[in-house]
């Protein structure tokens, strides 16, 4: 009887979670949480394409939320970064840029979205630096806008520091110059708290890794 009650209680919990007790926002929160867990354990181009596909599904079902587009863009960016297939690299990045713009449409003047845009633009540049030098200005402009909107967003400094890290000294980059920016990023990450658990909260480890490479 005790066992049965236990099973029944569990079943009821599961039941309530699955159907009537599940309000739309809860469904969204749960869905995003699941997506972020997938993102946390994703590996390689295939893994990130999988999370991109997942967030795109959430995005088309939740017409008013910007975060699914944001994470879909982020996943496509990482998939584009990791893929070795040069022919498809630009397509991932173009998709990421389109999704950044969709997120921007839903949440205008969002520092996080502009920071991510600056990231994607820099990676677009890195595909063919000689022909796309102009994208460096575009990336810098997006990051400047992100900074104007919220100077406390640590990801701006991470992305800007990362861009500087990978840009040759001759073009205004270099590890020495990146160090100061990444240190700012690390300091801002230490005090950063996202407004909700599903808003962007990534990058602290990346900043540490890059700083470790400089030292």
């Amino acid at each position: 009887m005790k066992n049965l009650t236990k099973t029944l209680t569990l079943a009821l919990i599961a039941f309530s979670l699955n159907t009537f007790a599940q309000s739309a926002t809860e469904k969204f929160q749960m869905g995003m949480k699941k997506g972020l867990e997938m993102l946390g354990s994703a590996k390689g181009t295939d893994g990130f394409t999988g999370t991109a596909n997942y967030f795109e599904r959430v995005a088309q079902a939740e017409a008013k939320e910007w975060t699914p587009f944001y994470y879909a863009a982020y996943s496509n960016l990482i998939a584009g970064l990791t893929t070795t297939d040069k022919a498809i690299k630009d397509q991932y990045l173009d998709k990421a840029l389109a999704e950044v713009d969709q997120a921007d449409g839903l949440s205008p003047n969002n520092s996080e979205i502009y920071a991510l845009k600056g990231y994607v633009q820099y990676i677009k540049l890195s595909v063919d630096p000689q022909a796309r030098l102009a994208m460096m200005g575009a990336s810098a402009a997006s990051l400047a806008k992100a900074k104007a909107l919220n100077p406390e967003n640590p990801r701006i400094y991470l992305i800007s520091g990362q861009n500087t890290f990978y840009t040759p000294e001759a073009f205004g980059g270099g590890k020495a110059k990146a160090k100061a920016i990444l240190e700012t990023a690390a300091a801002k990450f230490a005090i950063f708290k996202p407004a909700t658990p599903i808003e962007p909260n990534w990058g602290a480890d990346q900043a540490k890794d890059l700083l470790a490479q400089i030292k």
Binding site: L4, A11, N18, T45, E56, V58, K95, Q130, M136, P168
Partner: protein
Amino acid sequence: MKTLLLSFFLLFTLGVVQAQTHITGFIKTSKGKAVPNASISIKNSYDGASSDSIGHFDFTTTEKGKQVLVFSALNFDKDSLLVTIEGKLMNLNVLMKEVVNELEAVTISAGTYTTGDAKKGAVLSSIDIATLAGSRADVIAAMQTLPGAQAAGSESGLFVRGGTAAETKTYFDGMLVKSPFNATVPDQASRGRLSPFLFKGTSFSSGGYSAQYGQALSAALVLESTDLPEKTTTGITLLSVDGGVDQNIRFKNSAVILGGYYYNLAPAYSVFKQQQNSFIKAPEQLGGSFQYKAKTSASGMFKFYAAYGVSQLSLNSPNINVPASPGFFSNDNSNIYVNSTYKEYLNASWKLEAGFSYNRDQDKGLMVQDNYKRTDKLLEGRATITHYYGRLSNFKFGTETFNTGRAESLNTLNRSYTDQLSAAFAETDIFLSSKVVTRIGVRTEYSSYLNRYNVAPRLSLGYKTSAASQLSFAYGRFFQNPEDSYLIQKPLDYEQADHYILKYELNLADRLFRIEGYYKDYANLTKVNGTSLDNSGNGYARGFELFLKDKKTIPNGDFWISYSFLDSKRNFANYPVLATPAFAAKHTASIVAKQFIPSINSQIGATYVFASGRTYVNPNNPVYLGDKTKSSNNLSLSLSYLTHVFKQFTVLYLNASNVAGFKNIYGYQYSADGLNRRAIQPSSRRDLIIGLIMTIGDDTFVR
């Protein structure tokens, strides 16, 4: 109680089982190839999956009833399927079609070399043009390293596939530029007026071009101006021969760009001996420009460009008949150029483009003892409407009208002419599939001065032979008015050329190879018979060209090789017979290489140009244009050192032309009695330019 609970539990679990439907299957192409990483989803729900490496997918859903199943993947067309979900296992096999995207579809490209940033099929980027060794950041000079164009010589302009410089026309955002070159100095090539930094893309077409472009028998150089600058910045250019400042002011949806420059060749001429003319006043030029660009909507753009420049020079040019009394020549030039365009999408499938331009170029001065003055004018208005349909196809039609002419005087003698030339064109690109495209176009013109019509058909075909290779064919009939110097004497007829071009191209990610063969048939060329003019001239040009660009073989470096074979003869101007003109060297080859060396923050560039001998008129040889010069060679080197001065991004620049000191001769000028001759040579044997380019307001390389 127990039974009740149990039954409730059973019911509940049954319910759960019923609510979940298992959907599984494979996604493949029609050829049976697996489509990995595809997204499968039920519309308006979170439920779905990604396909694995063998195209397999598998998921469960709680949705029921009629649902739309959506399939998407990069490189594939998005597709959907209406399904009824009833709780039973669903096994689906889905076929997806590979997308016909613009990047992979066949293109119209016979005869055309596109340059620009991130452009489809781009051959050279803007940076390639600006940093080309020996080009001094001149768009025209950079084009001379591409197949089809003759090597720079003693005349201004682009000589393409046996055509004269007047047969190549320059278009700025679709509008004809009447005077794209600086004032002409006897026996010297002058620079293009338009800075390469004004443009984001360049398309150099050595034949078979679109019906949109008229009044060019041989080639079209189509320049596409940049959009809004990203930021407010100041650019400073200091070269050993000139200095310039440009200020970009960026507003939210618009920008103002102000520019000014000054150049003076006197210091350079004092160092590098002038072989041709002895300058009394070395060329000196002062100019300024104003640009306003505004985004009028999400897809609309308005652009306005105005430039004004003045230049002065005077010299004594050698006189072969009486060496003791050289010919005095002075020139004061002023040039106004205004170009304004507007572009807007009327809706998703209709685009409107409109523009007007004005160009006035005035030369005056003294020629030996005679006062001369010459004013060329062009006012153009143009409108084009494009309708996009299907995936990639479009239909375009438009009209343009030019008010053009020349006025000249010599001492007290005056003459002038004005022509109102109106044109209409229609053109369609039809993609029969992603592998086959055809472009059919027609252009018609009416000139009030010639009082004649012309009708010019154009046809292009493209066939994709594999994912990376393409075969193209182009045919076109081209008309242009005779040159101003003839028209001012009397109205004539249109000059005419027919082009036939066949091209094969292999375009891999980091390598590009092209081979192109052509035949060009000239008719109605202007001929001078004694003192009378008529259109009895004719001629032909045929040849083939090779182009190879490689960004892969050398790390941090790239190079391109061009080779042109040209066989051309014409009977025009004052030619007594059909002969090979001086501007039609049989073999032309160039190698351009660039290497970035990270350890010294520098880019080294080298350009080598070879041209076989040019013909010249020797009055002692009964065969007209029967003599040939020796072949010419030129090796130019450039070094760009990237650094920061006062924390501002700076490029220090060094460009040396003809470093090996080859003694090149373009031809000979004979005395009237045929006993003496003088060699026409480059203005100086060697040349060196040192410069500094600085961008303030940005610590990265953006210009």
